[in-house]
Each structure stands twice: as C-alpha cells, then as structure tokens.
C-alpha cells in the first residue's frame, strides 16, 4: 500500500499536477469555442465575439461582449450561455487591423500562457468587420467556424504556397527573436466576402504595414514557403506553375551590401502572348524578361522592409558567425536600413510543359 501511494504521489508530482482533482469536461456539457474575434470596443475596451454553440449542428448565435480583459470575456460568455464555454479547442484568433495597430502582444500573451489553449492556434488579421461577415454568413453556412478552421489547416499543411499561415507558437518565436519580425495573414471582411489580402507586417509586436497580393507572391518565394503552385505575371502574359525557389543571401563584412541570389524552377502553365516560345531564342528572351520582372519586384519588396525597418525576411541571421559577438537588433536594423540590395534571379523553365 505504501509503495502504491508513493508511486501515485511521484506520478502526480512529476506530471506537473499539483492537484489530483481533474476538471470535469464532459463533452456534451461544454461548448468548446473554436475562435475568438477581437475588435476595438467602446471606451478603450475591446470587443470579443464568438459563435455559439460551436462544433454542433444546432442553430448558432453571435455573442459579442465589450470587455477590458480576455478572461473577463470568457467568464461573461459563460453567464450568457447554457453550456460552459471552454477554450481548449480555440483554433483561431481573429484580430481586427485597427486593434493590431495599437498593441496586441498582451492579448496574445494571455492566450499563450493559458495551458488549455494549443500553441497551434492560427492568428489572423482582418481588415473590415468580421462580425458583419459572421452575421450574414452563418445564415447560409451552418458550420462556418469549422470550415474556416479547415481552410487555415489546409493551407498550413505542407506549405501550400498560397498564403501566409502563422500559428501562435511561430508568431511568438519571431517576436522574441532579435533578427526576425513576425508576419500574419491579412483578410478583408465585409458582409459578403472574406478575402485574402496579403501578409501583414509587424515591427516586433506592432502592425506596421502589409505586402499586397503581388508582393505577397515574392514573399512566399523568398522567405516563406519557397514554393508557389501558381505565379501569374499578367505584365508578361504568362503564368508559371509549380514554382520552387532556392534563396541564397549574403551580407558583406561591412554590412553595406545585401546580395540575394534566387534560383527558381518552374514551368509555363499558361501563355497568352505573341512570342513563339517553342523557339529557343524566343524562350531565352522570355526567361530573361521573367528574371527582370522578378528582380524588380523582389528588390521593391526588400526596399519596403528597409523603409519600415522590419525583418520579416530574416536577413540578420546571415550576419551571425562563430566567434563574433552578435549585434543588437537596433544596430542591425540601422545597418539594414541603409544597405544596398542586389537581387539576381536564375530562372529555369522546364521544357515542353505547354
């Protein structure tokens, strides 16, 4: 008996359970919310919105509260609903652009420190009113919250190269690392649509700007997925498919120049121009045009990050070397801002794909 009790005690202590009593979470008695939408509220507060009951086929209602604290919102939701709202299945945190411009780190920190919430929670920025979209869409789509989650999960897996999908763990990792700044996907929401707008850029933890859809493609290629299922270049009447890139960045010793060499492989999926691309010399000219276009776009993208003094491309990591004391973030960004950028693309178009 003594042995049994000591084994039990050791188990409880080592598993981090200070109390042997477990919380009753019988699935039919709780309502595990899948998302919280946060927006600016009245009087310096913020608005927290969710759909209840989640994860069931029952008719859904939109709950919105004006609160000071996230946990306060959680508690007040419970008082309004006949099942206890639990956030152990919280999969998406949708933050309004205006709120993100102020400061979101304390909100995200609260969620990160909640042991119930998984760090694989998707963070999303929304421009416009997500609440309006929910209000309209829930009439048509019964399990809207679930389908939204499935969409994020789909694009997260195997880096589909369509959009930037970031979870809580990745976001916070970049916030606390000196040579990188986090990014988030940004969507535009109105009554009828919920559209991907590009990648939101953060300076440490503050939202400072975004890459639009065109720039976002370059961002996916050089810093995020290194893959694009489809890269349309309307300017050249061509669309490349299955584009994969290998990026080589080099910062010189004086931190004056940044060389980016991108090796890109793809095939022509669609061409509506007047060149005879079956001819080798015509094809070479076409490849050269594509390279020039990509170089221009990429250089523009890097310049934008220099202007905003942010590090979503994680160039600073290339300055690190053994036996050299790393620079502070401030020092590095001062160098980075003034750096000359040379971008070179080597595009290889796979033959006979048309």
């Amino acid at each position: 008996m003594k042995t049994l009790l000591s084994i039990l005690c050791i188990l409880l202590v080592f598993s981090g359970c200070s109390s042997p009593y477990v919380e009753n979470n019988t699935v039919e008695e709780i309502a595990p919310v899948t998302f919280w939408s946060l927006n600016q509220g009245e009087g310096g507060k913020f608005k927290i919105t969710t759909l209840v009951p989640p994860v069931t086929d029952e008719k859904k209602r939109l709950f919105t509260l004006n609160v000071d604290l996230l946990k306060q919102g959680k508690k007040e939701f419970n008082l309004k609903f006949y099942r206890e709202l639990k956030n152990g299945q919280l999969r998406m945190l949708i933050i309004n652009e205006k709120l993100a411009k102020k400061e979101i780190i304390s909100l995200i920190d609260t969620i990160l420190s909640d042991p119930d919430v998984s760090p694989r929670l998707f963070l999303v920025l929304v421009r416009g009113s997500f609440e309006d979209f929910l209000e309209e869409e829930r009439k048509v789509q019964k399990n809207l919250d679930y389908y939204l989650y499935r969409m994020f999960r789909h694009y997260e897996r195997r880096n589909q190269g369509e959009m930037s999908i970031v979870n809580l763990h990745e976001f916070m990792e970049k916030v606390y690392s000196p040579y990188s700044d986090p990014v988030l996907p940004i969507f535009k929401a109105d009554k009828d649509n919920f559209t991907y707008e590009g990648t939101a850029l953060f300076n440490e933890n503050k939202y400072v700007g975004l890459f639009n859809k065109r720039e976002d493609q370059m961002f996916q290629l050089i810093a995020n997925d290194h893959y694009l299922k489809n890269l349309p270049i309307p300017h050249l009447n061509v669309s490349l498919g299955q584009v994969r890139s290998k990026v080589h960045m080099q910062v010189d010793d004086q931190f004056k120049t940044l060389n980016i060499h991108v090796k890109l492989k793809g095939r022509i999926d669609e061409y509506r121009g007047h060149r005879n691309i079956l001819d080798r010399s015509e094809m070479n000219r076409m490849t050269h045009d594509i390279e020039s276009y990509l170089q221009r776009e990429t250089a523009g993208l890097v310049k934008e990050t220099q202007r905003l003094k942010i590090e979503p491309l994680e160039v600073g990591a290339h300055t690190l070397s053994p036996l050299v004391h790393p620079m502070t973030r401030r020092e590095w960004l001062d160098h980075y801002e003034k750096m000359k950028v040379h971008v070179k693309y080597s595009v290889k178009i796979e033959p006979l794909s048309l």
Binding site: L4, I7, L8, L11, L12, S15, C17, P20, V22, E23, N24, N25, T26, V27, E28, I30, P32, T34, V55, T56, D57, K86, G88, Q89, R91, D116, S118, N143, Y146, Y149
Partner: protein
Amino acid sequence: MFRKKKRTAANQKKNEEMNRITHEAVTLDLLKQATAKMDDAKIVQRQTNNGASFSLVYIQTLIDKERLNEAIIQPLLQSGDQAFIQCISTCSVLRIHSIEEAKEHMLFGAVLIHDHENNEWWAVQLENTLSRAIENSETETIMYGPKDSFTERIEQNVFMIRRRLPVTELKAEKFQAGSNTKTQVQMLYIEGIANPDIVEIARENISKVNFDLILEASNLSAFMDDHTHSLFPQFMQTDRPDSCAYSLGLGKIVILLNDTPFALIAPITFFHLFQSPEDYVHRWVIASFLRTLRYLSFFIAITLIPLYVALTTYHYQMIPLQILYVLMESRSKLPFTPFWESLIMLIIIEIIKEASLRMPTKTSQTIGVIGGIVIGQAAVEAGFASKVLIVLVGISAIACFLVPNYLVTKATTVLQFLILILASFYGILGIAFGLILLLAHLNGLSSLKQPFFAPVSPLYWRDWKDLFVRAPLPWAKLRPEYLKTVKKWRVSKGEGSE
C-alpha cells in the same frame, strides 16, 4: 506445548495405523469389504479344467470386457497343470501382496486373480483403452502446420511428443497428483538441454501438490504457480504436440496430465503468451508484423475504452476538432456519463461473449448476431449508447481475441475494467498510473522462479530476436538466454560451445 506433544503423538499413532493398513495382506474378505456397494465391482469364482479354483476381482466399467474372456478366463480354465501366471501371456502380470496395492491396481483397470491353492494374488492389466480420436486443435487453430492435438490419454500424448523428438535424452518422469483422483502426471524435458535447476524446481513443485482433486492442467498449475493472485498465467497451456516439442527443444519443461488434453509448458515469459505456432510457418517479415499486431491489439484492448472515457470526460482539448464534432453529436442526447455508458456496454459485450462461448455452436452464432447487430443498433437507436462507443467496443472486443492465449484474453477483459475505473477518476493520468502498475506487476512475476518479463527485464538482448520481431530461423542459432540452458547452441557446429 502440551497440545503440540499431544498432536505429535496422535500423528504418530495415525501413521502406524496407516502403515498397518497399507501393509495388511490382501484377502478376498477385505476386497469384498472394499467393493461393498460398488455395483460395477465383480467377484467371480471359477475352477480350471484341472479342478483348481481361482477368483477374479475387477471393476467391470474400468476393464476391457471383451479381452477379459479371451486373455484371462479362457486361458485359466484350460490351464491344466500349468501355473496360472504362465497361462496369461498377452497382458502384463504383477504379483501383489498388500490390500492397498490390490485396490490401486483394481481402480486403474486391472483384474485381480486369486490362486486359492497357493493363496497368491496377481494383477493383470486389462484397462479399458476407450479414447477419442486425434483431432484438430480447436483452441489454437492454424492454417498451415501440423493439425494433430492432444487427447485425454497421457500415453497417446507422450507418443505424439516422442514421435517428434526421437531422442533418448527426452526424459519423462512420472508423478501422481490428487489424493482422490490419483492423476498420473508426467514431466518431460530434454536432459542435457534443460537447466537442471529448473527441472528440480518443477519436480519439487509437482511433488508438493497436496489436494484431493487434480482433474485438469489448470488445477495442477494453480498449485505450482509462483504468484497465485496474478491475472496472468505462469504456465502456458497448449493442446498442440508441436508446440510442446518446440518448447522442449528450447530447454523448457512440459507437464502432461492423464485425462486432460492440455499440457503445461514452463518457464514462460509474458511475451510467449503472444506467440503462435504459426509464427514459425509464415515468412519472417509477415510473422513479425502479425506478432507486433498482437501486442498492439493487447494495448488497444486494454486502453481504447478507458481512453474514450478519459478524453470525453476530462481532456476534450486532446481530441482533434473533426472527431470532437462527431463525438459531441453522438453523445448529445445520451442519459449516461461516458463512464457508465462504457461500463454498461462492456458488461453487455462480456455477457454476449460468455453466452456464445457456453452455448452449442449453432445457438452461439444466433447469439452473436443478436448481440452484435440487434443489441448494438438498438442501443444506439434507443439512445443508451453513442455510435462512436459501439464502434470502439467492437474494435476492443475483436482486438482482445488477437492474443492467441485464451487465458490472457480473459485477463485483458479484467485489466480493461480496472483501467477504465482509473480513467474515470483521473483521466489520462489514471490510465498512465494503471499501465505503470501493470508493468510493475509483470516485472515482479516469475514462472518456475524464472523472470516473467524477460528478455525485457532483466534485459537479454540476444532473445530479442524472437520477441517483437521473429527473426529468420537460421539467425536463431542460440537457445533463449533467460532459460540458462545447458547447451546454448541449436546448431551442431557449436556443440562444444557450452
């Protein structure tokens, strides 16, 4: 102290009395007294053609009546001047002196012959050899490999083993167990391979059995087990002579009992309970896969339902959203908590399993259909159980049967209930606690004083070749290390490597 002295004196007196009875000379009166109220006991008096009289005493239900006339009565009647003993040439004849000897022979199917003139008693073995034919094994069926199985006759069973191992080193020591049943027990081992210490332990354990009824193998193993209260059998029971021969070849001991078609094999480990004779028939990759599947099934059988209870009661966070969606839908209108729902369904499944096992084959099929389909579907439609649980209970019940040893299958059921109760109190922590207790228990068990959890604990790397993976037979050149056999090598080139 006085009481002890008194008791010793009483015991001494009793022993003297016993000795007196045992050594009392056999007489017809004493035999009549012994067979009183035994209607099947016969005492017949006859005269030979020479005028000499003799008596035959026998129990007619135990002897071969057809052979009685031709092998004993006719030769004796026409014996003439010949001595009785010389007339009987077709059966084994033994001279007996005491009444105890006479009774024992008579009860084992001998005909007692009394020569009135010389007052001599003889026992002629004329046992009724009625027995069923050698049939396919029903408890350990296999697709390929030998199909014969043991019968209730120990001689036949020893024959089946000896035919497979025609070596003089195969020793068969005889014992008797059960004061009333006087069951014949034979301990088989291969001298020069089996560890003499283990043989001695087994010999001692069998000799120590002191009980009135030893009717079958489990009765004997119950007295030989090192750990009486364990859920796990410490002797492997099999009715397959090929399994016995294989085990003997490895250096294990086989114990056969008369009137039971099951042999006991020891020492065994926990992992032997998951091995099937068919493992050595299949290609090694397939055999390894199937063996791993059995371990996995055991794990599923004991943890699947407890896991369902733990997740649906405490750890909803761990359930993937897609599955949570299905679970919530399925459980939304149920009147019971996950624990009670699972407990009721598991008990119902056990009732169905027991019923289909005890009923005749045709009825048991009907019970299977009624139990599986009607009760399962009706329970869901009536709102007593969730669809998900019915699926899980089905998987767990089938997983149970993947373990080839029937005794372990039953142990799995009890383990499942125990872990279920722990899960209902502490969730995943309870399951972890249950599994740790199980491991600790298995680690503490032994079979004929040999570690039951070997070769994992204590660690014998060499024996891992035949553990989760069944390595190709040419690789298994050495006998299991945990058995500490006299001869280590199974191949002749290593004969000297002992």
